[in-house]
Symmetry: C2
Subunit: 387 residues, 2 copies
Amino acid sequence: MQNFDYMTPTRLIFGRESIVKLPSVMSQFGKKILLAYGGGSIKKIGLYDRVIKLLEGYDIVELSGIQPNPKYDPSVLDGVRLCKEHNIDVILAVGGGSVLDCSKAIAAGAKYDGDPWDLISYKAKAQAALPIVDIITLAATGSEYDCGGVISRTETNDKIGYMDPHLFPAVSILDPVYTFSVSKKQTAAGIADAMNHTMEQYFAADTTLLNDGFCESMLRSLMINGRKCLDNPEDYNARAEMMLDCTYGCNGILSLGNSPSGWPCHAIEHALSAYYDITHGEGLAIITPRWMRHILSEKTIDRFVKYGINVFGIDASLPKQEIAQKAIDATYKFFESINIPMHLRDVGIDDSRIDEMAHHVAVNEGLDKAYVPLTEQDIREILVASL
Amino acid sequence: MQNFDYMTPTRLIFGRESIVKLPSVMSQFGKKILLAYGGGSIKKIGLYDRVIKLLEGYDIVELSGIQPNPKYDPSVLDGVRLCKEHNIDVILAVGGGSVLDCSKAIAAGAKYDGDPWDLISYKAKAQAALPIVDIITLAATGSEYDCGGVISRTETNDKIGYMDPHLFPAVSILDPVYTFSVSKKQTAAGIADAMNHTMEQYFAADTTLLNDGFCESMLRSLMINGRKCLDNPEDYNARAEMMLDCTYGCNGILSLGNSPSGWPCHAIEHALSAYYDITHGEGLAIITPRWMRHILSEKTIDRFVKYGINVFGIDASLPKQEIAQKAIDATYKFFESINIPMHLRDVGIDDSRIDEMAHHVAVNEGLDKAYVPLTEQDIREILVASL
């Protein structure tokens, strides 16, 4: 078991109508709020009006139009400028992981004198950040319970995951009802995203019995509840279980004491969505089974066997190799069964930039230190197998 | 799924030699430290000397002799007096759950003008508390990651579990090596304590798939790693897994979204250890299987079936009633196999005060709202079955 230093100070207010606590939550932080959101879905479901009404008496400055795979320019830069101009006290992020990730970069940038990209690219370390409160409308990224974010910079094809302990949300408000209207496509992508967060931690050299069981239970829950959400988008319990499952995805609680894994599927997928702006969860679902097949060996087979038996209920009396293959097949088939496009060509990616992406990942993502180390050639092979 | 409002802001510094971070941790809080500890085992293992050396330059006031089932008088009262007299900035608790629980009561009492019992008995609400740092030497209670404590008041036979969000430790330092010297008796009691914390949350009317799997994994880990700790007290990995398992026991993370269960075994055991000052974990191990047998019914059987299959690997094709009975037997036999005395008479308790204890629990513990509501007669029957 590995040493660790862990803290997640975020307060989770979870459940139906938990938004009623918003005014008392916001009153801790001051009167000037930057309200950050995306493309208007929060207006469609009435959440925008509800927030505005609950926050009567506050000074609200708005930053809207934050996109999926949130962009440094214009969203982060605009947000930082607004915070500085209006002397903002607190950021209220309303939306999915992209809105929240963008808000985290803004929160750090607002308290930094230089170019905010210095912080995202780890050239400088944040000394402070504005407090962040969020209301989550999409179950997927787990950004509501971690201190990280992913920001894309279009002109350099960079998509960087950065973390800083100042960036834990102070409070995350999670009402599963706000996810009822999430499309089947985005629901499925959220399931795949959270499942992959779990697998990235489960597939490691040194794990604990507790973490293994916790991850296996997470994967089973995401598949069962995720499918229920797709079948009946207004199934409160299924949406609620899926939402909380997703919340645990990225703050490390699933793998305290495990050895680092390198998060290889994320590393590869970040190139895909940086180069092609595809849906992150779909990219992960495409990469995952190909990565699994690539790293399956005598050395890793026991992990796949455990995964197959405990997550998919594969007959433990079969030969190891057969269990492992069935487990990988089952992973692929699950994603396919929830209608995720399972080839890169299905999401508009051909082989023209494979070499370039493989090189980018190999140079920038440190996968030589992954659970199973990956060279540029390995990454290229995984991408080619995904075409 | 139930609504919840959850936060655990404690920083966990876990692993071999994590104590080296102590000076930088303490430097956040000020120069005047109340060093709280128990009967001297921390001197025997060299931890006391290590702490004193690491904290050269600090003003240290000592409160020693804190007992298991920590006492309001003298420990809490003495601690509060010392904090006020010496204008203490931070409490450093070094020891097991009892030392830490006592330190929590002191931390609240030091910032309160009236009788500290007001806080423990919920007559008054803490407005502030001194910060607490702890170094844990016994894996059991989970106090290092929750905001609660249990304090006994001998003259009234009260043993009260109280909670207050001000009482989360700021930092918990957990080095499994400090648990190498824990006796077999205390190791076994710690296993039983943490297992029961998990069961108290698992046996509830409304649970989630994720929580069920998390709890089942916790129970399996505690049994497997706990036994390894007993067989080889210096097995680092087993001590480490057990230590982290125990840490999750009481802060609610195992049951976010579950319906409340009432923690019935704890409620009953608190009377046993208040009246007879027995070892808490042993009392829990004695009560648990009798409570299980008492509440097994058509209404609860599915929970026992799930428990039996997933925790003990009982054949799922057997009749439900048989699985449930086998699961309860297996629970009893596991505790017996780690040499816990499994009858009240083995720990010096006869039938002379059963009625009095049953009445005390029925009046004070609210078990009419438990997972399976318990009347005074139910509690008496469970106690009689435990004799």
